[in-house]
Structures are given as C-alpha cells and as structure tokens.
Point group: C2
Chain length 310, copies 2
C-alpha cells in the first residue's frame, strides 16, 4: 500500500470521555445515539417507525446483526433495500449518521424462529445464550468513544412514540425500559385492543430468589412460564390507564425489546451474559450486572411500545 | 450542518464477521490488531518497544486510556509528543493505522500510584475495580467490527520480543498470556538478573477454591499476598531455563500486563468484571468469564516480557 510518496499522517483521535455528555436533554447537547437491533426478520413497520423518530437522524448511528441463516439472508436483502432508499434517495434530514451491518459468525442454535417454538422453556437457555452473544458482538463492535446513549430496539418492535429517545433520556437513568405491548383484534369486543407482550421487565420476588437459590449456579430462571411460577412483579401488568406516562419503577430484570442505556453503563462493563449470571441470562442478566456496577435499572409501566403480532 | 445542497450519502459499512479472520498466521491474512494500554505513567521504553514491533504497523490500532489526574496529564503530554513524532515525522512504515486516546471520566480512587501503596491488599479491591472499569471503557470504545486480535499491554511493560504478535497468535488460543518478568541488578552476583513479576497468571488450587467458598460472594481473592496464601500454581514460577519457548499451560487467572485475546472472545461478552465474579476481579475475573464462554485461557511460562523496575 505504500506509494513511496508522502502519505497523510494516519488519524489520531482524542476523546475526553468527559466531553461526551449524557444528559436529560440530549437534543440540546447534540448527543450521539447508537440504535442497536438484532434482526432475524425484517419488518417494514420497524423501518417506518425508526424513520419517524424525530431525534435528529444525523446524530443516530444504526447497528444491526443478522444471523447467517436463509431467513437472515432474506432480512439482509430487505434491510439493504430500505437503507439504500433512505440514505441515497431520501431527503437529507431522513438520513442516519452511519449504518453498520454485521452478520453472525456462528451457526444459530437449531431452534425455529416460530414464536411457539422459540418460546418453549426447554429451548430458552440455548436460544437466549445465542441472543446474548449476538447482542454483545453488536455492542462491542459498534460502541464508539463519542456514543452517549444506546437504544436497544428489537426488529419486531413496530411502534414507538417518535420522541422515544428524548422521552426516555429525560429520566436520566442508566438503564430504562418502556413497557412492551402488542396490538390485537379482540374477537369479543370486535375492536382493536392491546395486551402485555414482554415479560422480561420485572421486580424480584422472595419466591424467585428462593427458587434460584435451590438451582445449580448454571441453571437459569426464565420468566413467563407457568411450569416455573416466580411470582415476580411483572411490569407488563403494571400499566394503569389513568397512570402518569412518566411513572418510574425500579426493575431487577429487563427485556431488550426496547431499552435505553447510557453508554457509560456498557463502558463500565455491563454486557449480556451468555451464561447463567445469578441464574439469569441475556437481558435479564444484563439488568443484574448493571445493578452490580451501581446502575439501578428502571421501567416505565405506562410508556408503551408495540411488538409485531405474528 | 445542512448546506441546502446535495450531500454525499452517509457511510454504510457492511461487515461480515465471517470475513474477519483470526488465524495462527495473522500476517499472511493481514489481520487487524488493536493494542490497548491503560496508562497512568508514560515510559519512553514502552514506546520504544512498541515501535520495534515487527508486525506491520499499518495493521495496528493503538488505544490508550489515561486517568484524569495530574500524573495522567503528564503522561498525556509525553505520549502525545511521541505520537506526533512517529505519526507525522517518522518514516511511513513506523506509523500506526490509527490512535485513539481516552481520558477517564471518573475520579480515580484515592490510592497512590507508588508500587508499595498500590500493592497493599486492602487497597486491591477498590484499585482493581477502577482498573477494570478503565479497561472496559477502553475496550468497548475501541473494538471495531474488523478487529481480529486485541493485545493488552501495560504501559510499564518495557520489553517484549518484536515478534510477540505473531508468536502468540500462532498458538491459536482465545486468551494467551506470556510470562511477565522484571530485570534487576543482583547485588550478590553483581550482574543483571531477572525475577518473576506478575503473579496474576495462575492455575487454581483446592485451597484457593475452598477459601473462596467461605468468602462472601462480594469478597475477592487476590494473588500474591502472604496474608492469604492460596497455594495456586503461579506461572511466574514455572519458567524453565531449558524449557521450550512455546510450552503452553492452561490458566484459571490471567494478568493484564501482556495478553493476546481473540476479538471474538471479547465480542462474546468477555470483559473485566469490576465486581466480584466467582470471588475474582478484573483480569482474573476476565479469565473466569472467558472460560465460562468456552474459551480456556492459556499461558506461556517460558515466553517472557519485562516489566519496568521502579
Ligand atoms: N442476530 C440475531 N437476531 C435474532 C436471532 N433470533 C432472533 N433475533 C432478533 O432478536 C430480537 C428478539 O428476538 P425475538 O425472537 O423477537 O424474541 P421474543 O420476541 O422475545 O420472542 C428480534 O429483533 C429478532 O429479530 C438470531 O439468531 N440472531
Ligand atoms: N487509565 C488508568 N490506567 C491506570 C491506572 N492505574 C494504573 N494504570 C495503568 O494500568 C496498568 C497496570 O497498573 P499497574 O499499577 O502497573 O499495576 P501492577 O504493575 O500490577 O502494580 C499500567 O499500564 C498502569 O499505567 C488508572 O487509574 N487509570
Ligand atoms: Mn420479539
Ligand atoms: Mn505494572
């Protein structure tokens, strides 16, 4: 690569982590947001939704990781089409700062992507361990020195308020989860309705802690299975119709469907354990790890985002 | 920033993690190495040593993190002087691919940098927890999608073989530690001599495991203190004068003085726990975490690097 001639000096970047702010008013401070999405399938509604984010797109970097499967290839094609349209043909204000797409380098565990199959309890440890590694690969490869916030958003979260970044950041929490719901057609009322979807946002219960204590350190305690009732307080059920939108509750476990994290929480070392960590794994283990690092996770029971309905 | 005119489309980077190889022959495959150094003091000998690395500098990115102290400011100034000289005035082949310098954003714990003071057992937990966070900040902020290897090298490691990258990579291990020694003037023999320095590379012992079991989960078991004899097998003492240079031994704890890590080990989530993890912390906790993620750490008792002698 040497041309024999004089090359420009290679780049030296200085970053004083002190100068990168992470404040309740990210817009005023032009804070960089890294939006991270593990993506097994592409949903046009997901893209339409992030296009509507009214946080300046020039401050948002997108990061994706897709599995090395046929389904992953399909998603990749769809994703690239939408990216090309936005970044090359769309209006300037719609364009994101930069986009990084990773493909997984491990074969995914042999569990189907069908909702029924992937939710079976016996499949959870191997599936969630693979998901944890995918999230970590994405995180470690994309977080930069000037990132202020990381917004985790699953590929099947198809509706959020356009102000979600500002709304969540204003709470000034290290880890903050909105409530993930699902819209559906209610046969009884013959009208659209909504129901809780993500059960990974919870507060611990004495019974769950006792259950964990009796388990081997390598076992994991997953949420949302009647075979293993934990009696945890699930944020999914805590939404109140007349409740304050910005009501906060402390959480011991979080889901990854939508999650705003201060970049410093990750920089301190908080990642998604792919192994049992206090009998927790992936996003739930991440909550525990954040807490151990001094960042108490919180949730917003009345602030809703919506999961795709398969 | 909008000029009203047409801007070039923002960058879209594609990375197939599959295309980034991490092989026993990194040179042949032009693999990118990220050389990471937490730096409280600047030693000219450290810089002279990395300048002698005969792995193509254009494949090496340097990353530093310095504390926000007066000492850190001094180190910063010295470091920048040497960087300017190398990157702007030096011959092209000496220049590194890029250099990222971070300053810590937390005040360091009030422990003096003097060797005696920093090695006191009661200071270890707070000091090593701070070191773990510094290492994680550096790692999370600099690892990119095209990094193949991470070489951890302390700022006071002043002598390594120039081929250290190739030599260690050829072992094809996820985590590999050379033996960290120290040169000194032997008053008895009236000649230069060497002695073991880094005691964090070790194999577990039944006694250490028993000690740990009796501790609270939040306590840490540190190595090299007579107050708490662990009877672990220390790699520092395993060097054999007539031993094979490339002799390997499995390790349960590693130090950070010099350590070659496959980027995928970090991407799977292996970081430096700033909290007690199986009663281990920082680099020793990292070894345990790597192992839990399926990457058994190894050490090379006869392959030496040298620590500064204060
Ligand atoms: N990279 C990657 N992403 C995946 C994989 N499996 C699922 N995902 C994505 O990870 C997120 C969570 O998975 P999902 O199956 O929706 O979990 P659930 O909604 O909790 O059942 C979604 O964005 C998926 O598209 C995988 O094997 N690799
Ligand atoms: N960023 C940062 N680096 C540090 C700090 N303290 C020590 N270091 C660096 O971290 C490495 C290990 O620390 P050191 O004091 O040498 O540990 P020891 O040799 O095991 O006693 C060296 O490269 C130090 O220069 C700190 O507070 N912040
Ligand atoms: Mn989902
Ligand atoms: Mn040292």
């Amino acid at each position: 690569k040497s041309t024999g001639g004089k090359l420009a000096a290679p780049p030296v970047a200085h970053y004083n982590l002190n100068n990168v702010t992470t404040t309740p008013t990210p817009l005023e401070n032009s804070e960089n947001v890294l939006l991270l999405t593990p993506m097994a399938r592409f949903y046009p509604e997901y893209w339409d939704n992030i296009m509507r984010l009214d946080y300046p797109h020039e401050l948002i970097t997108l990061g994706f990781i897709l599995p090395k499967t046929r389904e992953g290839n399909d998603a990749m094609r769809e994703l690239q089409k939408r990216i090309a349209k936005t970044q090359q043909q769309g209006p300037e204000k719609d364009r994101f700062k930069s986009i990084i797409i990773l493909r997984e380098d491990i074969d995914p565990p042999l569990v189907s992507q069908d909702e029924k199959e992937r939710h079976k309890m016996k499949n959870q440890k191997v599936r969630r361990s693979a998901m944890a590694k995918a999230r970590n690969s994405l995180l470690f490869s994309t977080l930069g020195p000037s990132t202020s916030w990381v917004l985790w958003l699953d590929a099947d979260v198809v509706e959020t308020p356009p102000t979600i970044i500002q709304d969540l950041a204003q709470h000034d929490q290290g880890v903050l989860a909105p409530n993930c719901y699902q819209r559906f057609w209610n046969e009884e009322t013959k009208a659209m309705d909504e129901r809780p979807y993500d059960f990974n946002n919870w507060q611990d219960s004495p019974i769950a802690l006792e259950l964990a204590q009796k388990m081997s350190p390598d076992d994991i305690l997953v949420e949302g299975y009647s075979e293993m009732a934990t009696y945890r307080t699930l944020m999914a059920y805590m939404a109140q119709e007349d409740g304050r939108l910005h009501e906060e509750m402390p959480l011991d476990g979080v889901g990854g469907a939508a999650l705003l994290v201060k970049a410093d929480v990750h920089r301190d070392g908080a990642m998604f354990p792919a192994f049992a960590f206090y009998n927790l794994i992936e996003t739930e283990g991440f909550a525990k790890m954040s807490k151990r690092l001094g960042w108490q996770p919180f949730g917003l029971p009345n602030y809703k985002v919506y999961h795709y309905n398969e």
